[in-house]
Structures are given as structure tokens and as C-alpha cells.
Amino acid sequence: MATLYRAASPDSLIVAPVDLLTAIYHRASGQTHLMASPAPEILDALAEAPLDAAALLAKLRADYDLVDADPAVLAARLDELVETGLVERR
């Protein structure tokens, strides 16, 4: 079965746009993460329900005009988000 990715619940986050970056305070870890697109958009896409990488890419494709979409790049961005604790692999 494909790995599912689940984002931290929106009520555990404080999200603030900071010019081109987005600051995300994660109440659970007490950490603040500064991130650039597409990381905030990925988090947002995972907010409703856990998705595997293929379904996430499909959702992003539905919500945005994807430029040069590369599944390997999406996987790398997901790995980074898992490392921050903002996304859980299950």
C-alpha cells in the first residue's frame, strides 16, 4: 500500500505569510518553520485528509497550474516536511 502523508491539524498551527515566505508555528513542537512555496501549498493540500504522493500530486494539479511537475521533487519536499514534524508518514 502506498505511503500516506498526513499534515498536522490546522488548529495546531499558526500560519503567517511573511513576504515571499510563510512562517508556521507548530504548537505541538514549539518550533517555527519558515518555508517557501511549494511547501505551504503541500501542507494545505494535506490538511483535509491524508493522501499518498500520487493523490497529492493530482490534488495539487487540480488546485494549481503546476509548472514542470516532477514526482521526485514532490517526494523530496514531503521528506522535508516529515523532517519538520509538520507531516506524518503512515
Binding site: G30, L34, A39, Y64, L66, V67, D70, L74, E80
Partner: protein, 134 residues
């Protein structure tokens, strides 16, 4: 490709409000994590403990999503009898199972631990576990 995508029709006026999103190989990675000062002390990280639930809410059950529910709630689990050691929690956060628990019980407890917030017993311990190594 007769779908309602307009990816290749750049010369037309934008018919939708869709935003462009860069997801190609040239996309730079920018994620900077700012650690809380309380967790900069790495000493004793593996010797701290996390009660499930914390003493103030002892007796409540833990639902599958980690929320605390009244005791006796169907499909929820009674709290752990002993606090979990940080090392065991770290293992569970990486896909293992907490000692003395079933798989589903461990997932519920782990979800509870992930939801810990400032001021809750075990939070500092959990925050320490969250720190990237190195």
C-alpha cells in the same frame, strides 16, 4: 487533451483564478526550522518521560486520533498505567509500537503525544524528541 486545463494556453486571458505552483527540478528547497530555546539542551533527552494522558486528565480514554474522550468511550483506549520513556516514544514516532500496547493502542497514544502542547506534562520531552539531530 480536451480537459478544462489551460496549461498551454498562455496567450489567452486567464479564464480562472488558478495560481501557478512551481514543482519542478529547479525548485529550491527552503524550509528553515527555528528551535525553541527550551529544547536546545540535549542532555537527558532519552531519560525524560511522557504520561498518557497527563495527570490532570488521568482517567480519560485516548481515541484513535489522539484526542482525550470520557472513559468507557467505544473504540478508545484507557490511559497508560505508566509514563512512556522518551526512547520508547522516539521508536514509536518512527513507526514502532509502544511497549505493552497493541498496534492500534500505540497509534492512539502516539497521536496523543504528537498533539501535546505547551503546559502539558510531557510536552518538553516530546519537543526534545522533535529536534533534528546534529
Amino acid at each position: 487533451m480536451d480537459e478544462n486545463t489551460t496549461d498551454r494556453q498562455a496567450n489567452e486571458p486567464h479564464p480562472t483564478r488558478r495560481r501557478a505552483l512551481m514543482l519542478g527540478a529547479a525548485t529550491a528547497s527552503v524550509v528553515i526550522s527555528i528551535r525553541p530555546a527550551l529544547a536546545q539542551t540535549s542532555a537527558s533527552v532519552l531519560t525524560c518521560e511522557i504520561p498518557v494522558p497527563d495527570a490532570g486528565r488521568a482517567g480519560m480514554y485516548v481515541a484513535a486520533d489522539g484526542s482525550l474522550v470520557p472513559n468507557g468511550t467505544k473504540d478508545a483506549f484507557p490511559g497508560a498505567t505508566k509514563p512512556f520513556k522518551a526512547e520508547d516514544v522516539r521508536t514509536a514516532l518512527n513507526g514502532g509500537t509502544l511497549p505493552g500496547t497493541t498496534y492500534e493502542q500505540s497509534r492512539a497514544y502516539t497521536a496523543y503525544i504528537r498533539r501535546l502542547q505547551h503546559g502539558t506534562a510531557g510536552f518538553t520531552c516530546f519537543a526534545s524528541l522533535q529536534m533534528p539531530r546534529g
